[in-house]
Symmetry: C2
Subunit: 368 residues, 2 copies
């Protein structure tokens, strides 16, 4: 719990340091520190810079031997409320645990920041403190969506960084999402699909048709395969590895899928309880059902990654418990080890002039 | 199979006549006629005007005794292809089975038309032949979404009539959806929610904030309770009876939910097969699982209702089998019996001047 834990570090050591906002989230610091402890147990290398109320954090961390000598506590006087407006947080958030967690990445003390707090505020403060990567107009939040693919997940973005995206934004989402699939999931040549209300090329909004042309034109130079338009039903499929959409549509799709899964879960539990026979059935199938529940447990794929900034920020679900927080930290550690932020910046920066050329070419072809 | 089946009919008799496009859909006339036969078995009053290739239809209907003397066949020279552009179908669709099915409603021979065909073409031809109801700018497609409510379903619209909707459109969707919930589901005072990416009033697109004010201002006069913004996870919940959104978002949400349910179904089957114990469990729980499958079977809530036209048109899923088609026909019959088209037209027409007043009042309040 002293500074020497992370001083005199080499760049490769730095890749083991995660900056944590301990005050965000619905369950408070208890769940966050619990998640850190779970991560520390399975990962002897990991170190934390923890931002929040120091008295509370010293108490919580002091109770967990596994965390001793792995955490540096940075006191923050305030915490961003879950219902605080992003614009207010951006103007008045200095001194908060969230602001501090992001500044640790900005200042090069940690590679990735993790917060369970208010998504809008986290994005707003991240934009101000880390700034957008060269060539990126709109950052995006990418998540891992359980899928039928060998890698078990597809990448879906944007799920809520912004409420809209134009065609050049969607092209960059495609490149950033592909980079995430390549680095985070090990898919060498990701297949990218653009979410629409039909797969025919004449369907959908104008910006989607334009984005379709732009992504198609740039796919071969960017080591992606563009599968064209995909529909909501394709998101968990093995037709595609990366699904690109604007943040409004992506957020509705994500929450609809979560709501559907929960509703089916409730129905399934009720069905198992319905008769004596089905109760017996539940007993026999218990181990397989538990394995299934773990496989599709949203807590285990917890963590929206903010892409398009000079640094990596991971938003954990606001209601995450220790298991959920630990999944977000595990993701943070993986991306930190890979030097993900540098890789994605290089990828987007190298693609940008090309991307803009394509945009201009497409626009001039269309006589605009 | 002769004209006298439906001639000399009174208005109440007419409410038993359903116009059917037998040539639409992925499975062809066989599935459609199969669905008609299933409906005829459970409903002795129902009569059909069937549009399609007369030779094929005579053969298919002739094989089913239950349909004899209940069907009038109307020959159509052509059928609209599933991938035909709506604009092309609208210009060249005359003489097709779809066009004929809609014209039977237009001409007052049948109360409701049912088609499994191309959604875009069906909407385009319906707009041209039936025209929009007074006060409606954009029609909408409403579906029944399985929910935790006592009525087992919520109404969701628009799921794909158009790719956008402005604030006055969303207000009318709220009124039309509430009318559907009242008539189709028996909910006296429907609770209406507006789909957004958060429940806070400052969130979302400009047209959603405007629609929020308009629906709130008109709710008490229209026998609805406006619950404000809802999120994707609320669609199957008991917080709300009617969910209002634009056709792009609604279509993505619907297909995402269907895809999620299918993916969970696949995982569940795999889990039951995994071990000898779980196979035994599946055997014991078989009856309860079958009941659950039937309850959430999308075929049983098959049928998107086109709202906002001078007449009712029901779009059955393109891949519907006989069970699915029969569900769509059952819905058509229920709405025909209720005189739904007249009720909804009266509701929207009476609300329109008011709705426009509200829109104008809100706009002038906002200094526009």
């Amino acid at each position: 719990m002293t500074d020497d834990v992370i001083e005199n570090r080499s760049p490769s050591d730095l890749r083991t340091v995660i900056s944590v906002d301990a005050m965000g989230g619905d369950r408070g610091a208890e769940a966050v520190v619990g998640g850190m402890a779970l991560s520390a147990e399975i990962n002897p290398e990991i170190r934390f810079i923890v931002h929040g109320d120091s008295a509370r954090l010293e108490e919580l961390i002091g109770k967990r031997a596994i965390l001793s000598e792995r955490c540096e506590i940075r006191h923050a006087d305030s915490a961003i409320a879950m219902d605080e407006k992003p614009s207010h947080a951006m103007r008045n958030g200095k001194g908060s645990s969230m602001w501090g967690a992001i500044d640790s990445v900005r200042d090069g003390e940690a590679t990735v920041a993790v917060s369970c707090g208010n998504t809008g505020a986290l994005m707003a403060i991240s934009m101000v403190r880390l700034r957008r990567a060269p060539g990126v107009n709109r950052p995006a939040i990418a998540i891992l969506w359980p899928s039928d693919n060998p890698q078990n997940y597809n990448v879906m973005l944007d799920v809520g960084a912004d409420i809209k995206a134009d065609a050049p934004d969607l092209l960059k989402f495609a490149l950033m999402g592909a980079s995430y699939a390549r680095n985070g999931l090990g898919v060498a040549i990701p297949r990218v699909g653009l979410l629409n209300v039909g797969t025919e090329e004449h369907k959908g909004r104008a910006e989607l048709k334009e984005a379709h042309e732009m992504i198609a034109a740039s796919s071969s130079q960017n080591d992606i395969v563009f599968v064209g338009f995909v529909e909501g039903g394709d998101i968990p499929s093995d037709r595609v590895d990366v699904i690109v959409t604007d943040g409004f549509t992506g957020n509705v799709a994500l929450k609809t899928a979560e709501g559907t899964a929960k509703a089916i879960g409730r129905q399934l539990r009720a069905a198992f309880k319905r008769t004596l026979m089905s109760r017996l059935g539940a007993l026999f199938a218990y181990s397989s059902m538990r394995q299934l529940r773990e496989k599709i447990d949203p807590r285990r794929a917890n963590g929206g990654v903010f892409l398009g900034l000079n640094g990596t920020v991971i938003k954990s679900h606001g209601s995450a418990d220790a298991t959920g927080v630990s999944a977000a930290i595990k993701l943070a550690f993986t991306l930190a080890q890979l030097g993900f932020a540098d890789k994605i910046a290089a990828r987007v920066a190298s693609a940008v002039p090309h991307g803009d050329d394509v945009a201009n070419a497409v626009r001039s072809e269309n006589g605009e």
